[in-house]
Amino acid sequence: MDKSTIVCRCEEINIDEIETAIKNGAETFDDIKRLTRCGMGPCQSKTCFYPVNEIIAEYTGMPLNEVSLPRLRMPLKMVRMSTLAQDSEGSNVVSVFGESVEDGES
């Protein structure tokens, strides 16, 4: 396929950029994300996750079930900052981010 074909439509990242990232040592979706912004758009990789993993699998020869999943972070869906910051029923931005189960992990 033409290497200029877009894979991540939100961030306009093409096959060539993803393969370059792999050449530079990327092994997982998250590695590629850090190098290219692929997966960081409004859909939060819901669209590009499988196509990217297929490219990794094809390029590295790793079976699809061994290509690791992208790391998920809250909030799960797009939401306005003001909505998170709104202090209602004892809950605010601190509770969604700070109290989250991911707290303390990098």
Binding site: D2, L64, L76, S91, V96
Partner: protein
């Protein structure tokens, strides 16, 4: 906010779970991000059979409306336009209505967010006029908007042919069905018959999709060479994958099962995930057909009800046995591979956590997990 059972997702699976839980006397809250219940049934105008307890064909939209009516007549607290966006350290689920964010404290959660359509990339897949088959179906059946006049279907599964048939009924010309495998995926005789005049390109891919402001030219790469055609619509039907994000947030373990759609949470015969407070139902528990989608909702609800003491063990076992029997019957008939993969997933998870199989499961599964 506080409740016994919190259901995430108001599609057929979530609604079926909520109705079952309410009937047994539990306090139930059902959350759905949409302004209307029904999930993906809202645009499914085709007829479905078999359904649990019936061989009669029922229109998808009618089935959805029937469940909504039952739900609205129940004591279930329905929160539409509410999205689950996260969880707190104490495992309360964080929900937003777009204005504020709050926690729902529940004893058990039944999570049924459904499935998403898998993307398929080719040069030009991001230009206007290229969409998933599901998007085209929503446009014609829900929004009453014609997405194009000349369509190319990418993929030849049942869903692709069903949408092609519905587009045809709206006056859209189906220019071609493009399939990269060496034969059609669908084996549904009725659908195949309806498509008999449509050119099918096997072992083929879309080489390019082009157009100035919107799609107008599609080039298909076939073993016999390139074919160029005029089209203003490409529908991508590349199958579905279970939605996993809410489960990841809840710390549920995931596994990869190709036949079930890809990555999905592990669960046991009660449809309980590795997080004991979270049950799973519907297409999130493996891509299947509408009968099993409804049944998984009921089985999950019964597990939660039993654990919370709303249902006696004996009663729960008896009901579960019937439901599993029906699930196995329908799923084996409609898609044997799906049932086998589901059994494998359950078997693997039971082994991993050292959990014995209840009698009722051994009987329906015909001891397949022993082999």
């Amino acid at each position: 906010m506080e409740t016994d059972i919190l259901v995430i997702g108001g599609g057929p699976a979530g609604m079926s779970a909520a109705i079952t839980a309410d009937r047994a006397g539990a306090r139930v809250i059902l959350v759905d991000e949409s302004f209307s219940l029904g999930g993906q049934l809202r645009q499914q105008t085709q007829h479905f059979a078999p359904l649990p307890g019936s061989e009669e064909k029922v229109r998808g939209t009618a089935l959805g409306n029937d469940l909504i009516k039952k739900l609205e007549a129940s004591k279930v607290k329905i929160l539409k336009k509410h999205i689950m966006i996260g969880s707190y350290r104490n495992e309360n689920i964080g929900v937003t209505d777009g204005e504020k964010t709050f926690a729902i404290q529940s004893q058990k959660n039944i999570i049924a967010p459904g499935a998403a359509e898998k993307a398929k990339i080719f040069p030009g897949w991001t230009i206007p006029g290229v969409m998933t088959a599901g998007a085209a179906q929503i446009l014609i059946n829900r929004e009453r908007v014609l997405p194009g006049k000349n369509a190319v279907m990418l993929g030849s599964n049942d869903y692709s042919l069903e949408v092609a048939r519905q587009l045809k009924a709206c006056g859209v010309t189906i220019k071609a069905i493009v399939e990269d495998k060496e034969q059609m995926i669908s084996s549904d005789m009725e659908l195949l018959h309806d498509m008999k005049n449509v050119p099918v390109y096997l072992n083929s891919t879309i080489e390019s999709a082009t157009g100035k402001e919107e799609l107008n030219k599609v080039v298909v790469k076939t073993p016999a060479g390139l074919y160029e055609m005029e089209a203003d619509l490409i529908c991508i039907a590349n199958g579905f994958d279970p939605i996993i994000e809410p489960f990841e947030i809840m710390g549920c373990n995931l596994a990869y099962h190709k036949e079930l759609g890809g990555w999905l949470p592990e669960y046991n015969v009660y449809f309980q995930t590795s997080n004991p407070s979270c049950y799973i139902a519907g297409n999130a528990a493996g891509i299947t057909t509408i009968g099993p989608v409804l049944l998984t909702g009921e089985i999950a609800a019964i597990g939660a009800l039993e654990e919370l003491g709303f249902m006696e063990q004996e009663e729960a076992e008896a009901q579960r046995k019937e439901l599993w029997k029906e699930l196995a019957e329908i799923e084996k008939r409609e898609n044997e591979k799906t049932f086998r993969a589901r059994s494998e997933l359950i078997e693997g998870f039971h082994q991993k956590i050292g959990m014995a199989f209840p009698e009722e499961f051994n009987m329906v599964n015909g001891g397949a997990h022993n082999g």
